[in-house]
Symmetry: C2
DNA sequence: TCTATATTGGAAAACGTTTACCATTAGTGT
DNA sequence: ACACTAATGGTAAACGTTTTCCAATATAGA
């Protein structure tokens, strides 16, 4: 395999290294004759360029790093899948960093563009992968970076100016809750995601707006603080059932939570939707196969991943304005987990 | 940020570049005084070594590439998560390649070690990411590579000698089916995974063995060829219901399939497990929250990912024998989706 | 104190590319 | 055939590290 470099190949083809490089990386900058000669030789000896050498020279690694709190979350893995595909189409590979929310690990991945292992950062967590110290340093320059939905404010930098792609979480939350209201529910609990996540805050705002629009009083005890996990759905649902004024409907801020929620409701003998309606969020591909099939807000997973990749790469290649924001469309999908209040 | 290199840092610290390199990368090879001086200077100016330079020199990228057919599959994403974590612990990053089973893309990722973007390959698909041509070339050298469960034979190379990590799929299949037999089921259907996947073939062999051990005749029409997806579970289950001698139990070779299977059974009015028992495979984290909670074979997801990472890295760093094989323990988890035959 | 040895630090080459700059050749119009 | 321009190809420097030598210095033994 392998061990032959551009010099050796140049010798074999009887041309200079410059010509080899051009013929392979910029074929149009070279005559057809040269191109053919070099490509033939390359093929013959099985030449494979060393990307490290090229990267060093061009200071372009061709990698982007994706910082994700939890890849095993179904919504995340869907986004990552389409991110990766879109990146690949443009010649980029994705280095992926599952951080489990551990600060230390975020920082490691955040440092990768400074160490030239990556050209840009895709942030799916709620904070920037840089230390306060770094952010404050006057010669700190933010690398190409886009965030998806979740980036919270930082005391040191105005994150609202960073490029992002997201759905309209406020409207989506409102849509979910409005659906319940239209079914006649008045006493609606909400199980939130991680309370420091902007998406949670926004969806909660949507909940508020829906209630307000319907003239239903907002009651603090209907807000149950959770996290975007199945287990949280299970745990918090038990608390919901303990409530003095038991709600007739629950808005779960993720489908995984809704799954845990429904399982728990059934376990305690509550019928869904006969006794309690449940609406989820995300429309993961399991949603329609739950029993009952889940009413939920569908996020455009594929489009989110693809858009993230494209904006980030545009940024890296300097063809995007640095503050591009993309709001993608969501959709309420009504299935069988919600029904009219009786 | 950043733009200062080792030369400049050496000048600032008043030492040579060699000393800087040693002080940072091999601190023990240098006096304490030197170490402190260099590290202090590095910190002061915010020096961050350029990994590309280092990689080029050492021809070690510090990356491994993971080739996965489908990251959004829950089992896969779990394995990848633990793979990534274990790799990170040893200082490696993972470049991840979701191929969707597309040959072209497998080849792209397979080429990454030749182009020095990665030091080793983790294969989760059923074929090697190299062309027949490459494999046959006499100067082809297999890069560090480990496969997990799924690698099929290749006409050009003896894949059985490659390092792998897996559970004992034959035994696991046998365990699942034996459980059904012990519940009194005689007419047991199986919905397989992708038929070209060794794990499917092995689990099927387990099915056969279980039947044989119980003296139950093996009937070809009880084998339903599927794929490891939710949708396949749905689609094939309909076929199962059409069978002349309708089975009283179904063994699904993945939990996602079982999910689709159960949803379909219920949709058609069959009770699980009253009418038909279902056993899955994987024990993804949703399994216990399905209704009914799923009886399944638990795979040690975390251990699989971790072991894969460690073997591969051992291979890269030359500390593993090149044919190491690891069989990890599985476990039958009995829940409510299986019941005695009546 | 002096020599023999161990430790430490430095100069420079190497890793495999790309590309700026220049020299050469081919192409065009007269 | 000639001058002028355009196209093409080559030489060599650069990218930022690590590491091989070797020289210098510290350490120890006598």
């Amino acid at each position: 395999m392998s061990d032959i470099g551009i010099k050796e190949l140049a010798r074999i083809a009887g041309v200079s290294t410059a010509s080899v490089s051009r013929a392979l990386s910029n074929p149009e900058r070279v005559s057809k004759k040269m191109r053919d000669k070099v490509q033939a030789a390359a093929k013959r000896v099985g030449y494979q360029p060393n990307r490290l050498g090229a990267s060093l020279r061009t200071s372009r690694s061709g990698n982007i790093v994706a910082i994700i709190p939890d890849i095993s979350d179904t919504f995340n893995s869907g986004v990552i899948q389409s991110l990766e595909r879109a990146a690949a189409e443009r010649g980029y590979s994705v280095l992926f960093g599952d951080t489990q929310g551990i600060r230390e690990r975020e920082l490691v991945y955040g440092a990768m563009v400074r160490s030239r292992q990556a050209d840009g950062i895709m942030v799916f967590s709620h904070r920037l992968p840089f230390t306060a110290e770094e952010l404050q340093s006057e010669n700190f320059k933010l690398p190409p970076l886009v965030n998806s939905c979740e980036l919270a404010d930082s005391p040191h930098i105005d994150t609202s100016n960073l490029p992002w792609v997201s759905i309209d979480n406020v409207q989506a939350g409102k849509d979910a809750v409005t659906h319940l209201i239209e079914l006649g529910h008045q006493n609606i609990a909400v199980i939130t995601g991680d309370i420091d996540s902007p998406s949670t805050l926004q969806r909660l705002e949507g909940y508020r707006q829906a209630l307000h629009a319907a003239g239903i009083p907002y009651r603090e005890e209907n807000i149950f603080q959770g996290a975007y996990t199945l287990e949280a759905g299970v745990r918090i649902t038990k608390q919901v059932l303990l409530a003095k004024h038991r709600p007739s409907a629950i808005f779960c801020m993720s489908d995984e939570m809704a799954m845990g929620c429904i399982a728990t409701l059934k376990e305690h003998g509550f019928g869904v939707p006969e006794d309690i309606s449940v609406v989820g969020f995300d429309d993961i591909r399991f949603a329609q196969y739950l029993s009952p099939p889940l009413t939920t807000i569908a996020q455009p997973v594929e489009a989110i991943g693809r858009t993230c990749a494209n904006i980030l790469i545009d940024l890296i290649e300097d063809v995007a304005e640095p503050e591009s924001k993309h709001i993608l469309p969501h959709k309420l999908v009504v299935r069988a987990s919600t029904a009219a209040h009786k």
